[in-house]
């Protein structure tokens, strides 16, 4: 077993008889990016919830940097350097953009990880600049469009100084221009040796970012390989892209 990266071993999660995850295993090295795709209800978000501590796996083991994270609480997972965003954005609605970000900058992980002398306010400002939301820092989040809310989700994750980020459909609801900006940000994070696990339905952009893709279907790992391998995989085409579909057709969506 390697001490680096994340290793998921035979994780199973059921909800009152419904199997959301069944014997899911994979590992991801530090500094790498992996995409996760699969039809609705395939268990993608459940997998994120299990990894990030919001749900407890029924069976299996999850190891990050040699440490068992299977029974950690969400804030403890963040404390180890794994941050996540939510598919359905969860801003603190009565607060400003700046205050939303400060909450994450007040986490123990953030206090510990930033350079000495840097205050939580400055950390918050820095990450807002990174996601290009600094000019809206005093706006109430209630008035923000979806693109900004997605970026705020990422800003809040970044403010905890993560080494590993779980992005749950970060591109949904974004304009083409916003999608380009976000793709650029993700590449920057990779340059900084951040590890990324990303759920995304927009295959074209996902395949341009991730050299490796995991396909989930009915809670099982259906395939795990390069975009080309995935696109050629018979069972993937059947399960995910439809019987008569061709891998090239649906990629615009």
């Amino acid at each position: 077993m390697t001490k680096d990266g994340l290793e998921i071993r035979a994780v199973t999660k059921t909800f009152e008889g419904l199997t959301a995850l069944s014997d899911v295993s994979f590992s991801l090295e530090d500094g790498k990016i992996m995409g996760i795709i699969g039809p609705n209800g395939a268990g993608k978000t459940t997998l994120f919830n299990v990894i990030s501590g919001f749900l407890r796996a029924d069976q299996g083991q999850m190891v990050y940097h040699g440490k068992d994270i299977s029974s950690l609480k969400p804030h403890q997972v963040v404390d180890l350097g794994m941050a996540r965003t939510f598919q359905i954005v969860r801003p603190f609605k009565s607060m400003t953009v700046f205050e939303n970000t400060i909450v994450a900058a007040l986490s123990p992980r953030s206090r510990r990880s930033r350079p000495k002398g840097v205050k939580s306010d400055e950390t918050a400002m820095n990450v807002l600049e990174r996601v290009a939301l600094d000019h809206k820092k005093d706006e109430s989040v209630a008035s923000l469009p979806m693109g900004d809310l997605r970026r705020l989700e990422i800003a809040r994750a970044l403010a905890t100084y993560p080494q590993f980020i779980l992005l749950d459909e970060p591109f949904s609801g974004l304009s083409l221009k916003e999608m380009d900006a976000l793709a650029g940000l993700i590449r920057n994070l990779l340059d900084e040796k951040c590890t990324i696990l990303i759920i995304e339905h927009k295959l074209k952009i996902l395949m341009s970012l991730a050299p490796r893709i995991l396909v989930l279907d009915y809670g099982k790992v259906l395939a795990d390989g390069t975009p080309a391998e995935i696109a050629d995989n018979e069972s993937v085409i059947r399960a995910y892209l439809g019987r008569r579909g061709h891998a090239g057709v649906d990629t615009t969506n």
């Binding site: 969400p74 804030h75 963040v78 801003p91 939303n100 007040l106 123990p108 953030s110 005093d138 809040r156």
Partner: protein, 324 residues
């Protein structure tokens, strides 16, 4: 660009701060302007309710964890003061601090099992805890005096004006500390918990710890207020644990504006004083009083003072995006 969220200079320019400064200055002058002891007595009661309401607000108003058993902490302070004073001769002033600590211990003891509960379950559990405590005073009447309560506590000051000033100073201390907490990073995190506890956890915040600290702070001031009340009346009884009082405190906070500290403090005066003066209309009092409450809850659901304070100007500097 200013990176600091608040400095004292920017704070005093905000309506909640200058309004409270003016209000407390006025209240300090009341005994100079009148020697109506009945009015002074009503205002002492209002002071006590201001402490109860603002201490409820720092936990429930800020974090959204509605505590329906705040009287448990008040009663812990009140009975604690009675025992410490009657049996150990602890002086009343020291009792204010000691009973605050007793309250805080109860806050933590109740907080630990109750915190995982959400929504109505937390409300029911806290309400049940206070009811059980009230009932226990009957069952162990040998030690608690039962319905009669415990008599003969030392008075805390020499007379009504002294009581008034002491209670007012306690309100001022409580308000300043709770507002400072509310505007601090602790307050911001409590607000984030109210908005979305899951997102707060995902931001790396140990929400349980912050909620527990809020429980302890809230219960400290409730216990302190309870001890003052017991010494002021020179008596404590099961009424200090009653659910009716717990509900009254919540109503005060709702009317004033939850999660603002200032709102509950001002509403404590508004409701206590109006309730007293409505006595002159006799039987119609409850009708008018409850009618008033219904109208306020219907038309100003965020609270009377939240709405007023938002409309007041902010002095100095260019106005930033205003917020409650």
């Amino acid at each position: 660009m200013k990176l600091v969220t608040h400095t004292w200079r920017t704070l005093i320019s905000r309506p909640p701060f200058y309004v409270m400064a003016i209000f407390f200055l006025f209240m300090l002058l009341v005994p100079v302007m009148t020697n109506d002891l009945y009015l002074i007595g009503v205002l002492v009661l209002a002071n006590v309710y201001a402490i109860f309401a603002s201490s409820w607000d720092i936990l429930s108003g800020y974090s959204g964890k509605e505590n329906f058993g705040h009287t448990l902490f008040i009663g812990a302070g009140a009975y604690g003061a009675a025992y410490l004073n009657l049996y150990l001769g602890v002086p009343p002033m020291l009792n204010l601090v000691l009973c605050g600590l007793i309250g805080a211990v109860f806050g933590i003891l109740i907080g630990i099992p109750c915190l995982p509960l959400v929504g109505p379950y937390l409300a029911l559990a806290t309400m049940a805890a206070a009811s059980i405590a009230e009932r226990l005073t009957m069952i162990f009447s040998k030690y608690t005096g039962g319905e009669e309560g415990l008599y003969g506590l030392e008075p805390i000051t020499a007379g009504p004006v002294g009581d008034y000033y002491l209670s007012l100073i306690l309100v001022i201390i409580t308000t300043v500390i709770l507002m400072a907490i509310g505007y601090s990073k602790q307050g911001l995190i409590l607000r984030s918990i109210k908005e979305d506890e899951t997102a707060s956890e995902a931001a790396g915040i140990n929400t349980t710890r912050y909620k527990l600290v809020a429980f302890a702070i809230s219960a400290f001031f409730a216990g302190m207020g309870g001890a003052f009340y017991a010494h002021y009346q020179m008596y404590t009884g099961p009424s200090s644990l009653s659910i009716i009082m717990a509900i009254t405190i919540i109503i005060i906070c709702m009317i004033g504006g939850m999660g603002t500290i200032v709102g509950p403090v001002l509403a404590a005066y508004m409701l206590t004083v109006s309730n007293e003066f409505l006595r002159s209309i006799g039987d119609f009092r409850l009708l008018v009083y409850t009618g008033l409450l219904v109208v306020i809850v219907l038309f100003l659901p965020r609270g009377v003072f939240t709405v007023i304070l938002e409309r007041l100007p902010r002095f100095g500097q260019n106005r930033e995006a205003s917020k409650p």
